[in-house]
């Protein structure tokens, strides 16, 4: 009954796509048995397609709109309208483009050191820009969220809840204190922090496994319903 459906779907555009996706799914799953040529083929295909896609999207979303087009416009303005302002604008435009080009210096061993300038700027800017955001979201907001409940204690249990969170935060912070060995009273506090961490890991593990199972169900549904038509 179902084999007829498969044959029909194979010769339509959508059906051919479903066949290819299903076979590749099984090819990847074959790794669960052991490494084999079918898995290697699908692995290479996946990597090749993703790198090809990366090249195209980088050209379309980065190189073209952020380098080629602005430089082309800048050149036409400089030679068309002219003026000191257009030259300055063009130079400003060339700085990031030149920094990007410095990355290609890696291909010439003699000048490979020049790529470090671009890398240093990239890493320095990225790391520096993340400092205020991290201070805000990982420190100030966490402090606020921990102590604000103490302003709104309206029952015994709300007090207990606030204290449980406070104790968890402080003991976990102490766990990540590296200047002192975890011994004695300090060690007991860090042990409490370890319990909190384990509870967190258990909860996130269970939660994420649930999410992964739903991904597996989605794939099995695709194979059994869209491909084989075994379930409706």
């Amino acid at each position: 009954m179902n084999s007829g459906l498969i044959c029909v779907s194979l010769f339509t555009a959508d059906g051919a796509g479903i066949w290819i996706a299903s076979i590749l799914t099984l090819a990847i799953y074959s790794f669960l048995y052991k490494d084999n040529p079918i898995y290697r083929f699908s692995e290479s295909l996946l990597i090749g397609i993703s790198v090809g896609f990366l090249l195209v999207t980088t050209f379309d979303t980065t190189l073209l709109p952020k380098a080629f087009e602005p430089v082309g416009k800048g050149l036409s303005v400089m030679f068309g309208i002219g003026g000191f302002g257009s030259i300055i604008s063009f130079i400003w435009l060339l700085i990031p483009v030149a920094l990007g080009l410095l990355m290609f210096a890696r291909f010439v061993p003699k000048y490979a050191w020049m790529s470090r300038v671009a890398l240093a700027l990239y890493i320095g800017f990225g790391a520096g820009a993340s400092i205020p955001a991290n201070m805000q979201s990982y420190i100030l907001r966490q402090i606020d969220a921990t102590i604000r409940p103490f302003l709104h204690i309206d029952s015994f249990w709300s007090l207990i809840n606030a204290i449980v969170i406070l104790a968890g935060l402080i003991s976990t912070l102490f766990y990540f204190f590296f200047s002192k060995e975890q011994k004695g009273a300090f060690g007991k506090i860090t042990r409490l922090g370890t319990f909190y961490l384990m509870i967190f890991f258990g909860a996130t593990f269970g939660y994420t496994v649930m999410a992964r199972i739903s991904l597996l169900i989605g794939r099995l549904t695709f194979l059994l319903k869209d491909w084989l038509g075994l379930i409706s």
Binding site: L46, S50, S115, R141, I143, D144, T146, F150, S179, T208
Partner: protein
């Protein structure tokens, strides 16, 4: 029907602490006297760039809105704008007086984030002091970390077995702190494997990380006095696709059979796929990540795991670099201040002193 314009005022002001793209529009309680008999629930907020020009509707205003204000966003810095409220139905067409001109101004300093600045200055001061102390040769103690103590053993095992070591920094971009810490660890690992002559394989997910990793590994090999053993072909870009990368690293593990897998950096859903495959080939595995959700997966599948900030500690611990160790010591003392602040905040919170709690509010 004839348009009726009544004396009803809107108040336009520049939105403070912004990038010069917002204006605040405020109004008196609605309805206006002239519409009291109809008492409309919804009005239109109109905007124009000239008082006599065409006004376009940008939002609706409810008379039930207790804040009596709207923030108009995505405006051009320095350009003048005019506003008015309008209401029309089959019986009446009403408009308020035109309010304006008002131009959004760019603010160089966001006063609502002064606490962020103070926090950064305090952190910077602590870190700076400890870096100076470290450079002056003061001994800065760091407690032992189990996963790091196993690092030598893991590298030694690979050497004894004559198998390579596989290193992965996950999917983090180079500017992420975990990726930077990972590169610091890579430097120390490269130095050790260079002295043992053990191959180090590092498939990458990001081209910039690849470039940095090649530089760091080259320096590690050079420091160990074995620059000739460095092979840039062992540190290569695979793909930026998450599961393409996972599939590739799994394949590499099955084919190259590394004796040791080191996973340090930012990991996402690929963490368990990598760690499980590594486990299945019997590799000794050490992992460290700042991705809180992925730590649980590493804990179940790896032999040793550096939890959260231990990853950053690892780079200081392995390299002994006073700059990294000083940063770590500085952050330790910052933690003490945070704990004191939290305890004090809890007490004053119980005493209903909201001013102290509000010190940590950020916009």
């Amino acid at each position: 029907m004839p348009l009726q314009v009544f004396a009803f005022e809107l108040y336009i002001s520049d939105q403070p602490n912004d990038d010069g793209t917002r204006l605040t529009v405020e109004w008196d309680p609605l309805p206006p006297d002239d519409l009291r008999s109809i008492d409309p629930e919804i009005y239109s907020l109109l905007r124009s760039e000239s008082p006599d020009g065409e006004f376009t509707s940008i939002d609706i205003v409810s008379r039930l809105d207790p804040s009596r204000r709207k923030i108009d966003e995505n405006l051009a810095t320095g350009r003048s704008y005019y506003y008015k409220l309008a209401y029309s139905d089959s019986t009446i067409s009403w408009e308020s007086n035109v309010a304006g001109p008002a131009a959004p101004e760019e603010n160089w300093y966001n006063r609502s984030r002064t606490n962020v600045l103070i926090g950064i200055l305090i952190t910077g001061a602590f870190v700076g002091i400890f870096i100076i102390l470290g450079r002056k040769g003061k001994s800065l103690y760091l407690r032992p970390i189990a996963g790091l103590n196993a690092m030598d053993e893991a590298i030694g095992r690979a050497t004894e077995m004559g198998k390579p070591i596989l290193y992965s920094s996950g999917r983090g971009k180079m500017e992420r702190p975990a990726s930077i810490a990972s590169m610091n660890i890579l430097g120390s690992v490269a130095e050790k494997v260079a002295s043992y002559g053990t191959p180090l394989i590092f498939p990458n997910n990001d081209p910039v990380v690849t470039a940095v990793a090649q530089e760091v590994a080259r320096e590690g090999y050079t420091k160990a006095g074995h620059a000739d053993l460095y092979n840039p072909d062992n540190i290569y870009f695979v793909t930026d696709s998450q599961f393409g990368y996972a599939a590739a690293v799994d394949g590499i593990m099955m084919r190259e059979r590394p004796a040791t897998n080191l996973f340090f950096g930012t990991f996402e859903a690929e963490s368990l796929i990598l760690a499980e495959t590594g486990n299945s080939i019997g590799a000794i595995q050490i992992a460290g990540t700042d991705s809180s959700i992925q730590m649980a997966f590493f804990i179940v599948a790896c032999d040793f795991v550096l939890i959260g900030e231990e990853l950053f500690a690892a780079s200081g611990y392995l390299s002994g670099d006073p700059q990294v160790v000083g940063t770590l010591k500085g952050s330790d003392y910052l933690k003490v201040i945070i704990i004191i602040m939290i305890l004090f905040g809890a007490v004053v919170g119980l005493l209903n002193q909201e001013w102290f709690v509000n010190l940590f509010l950020t916009a």
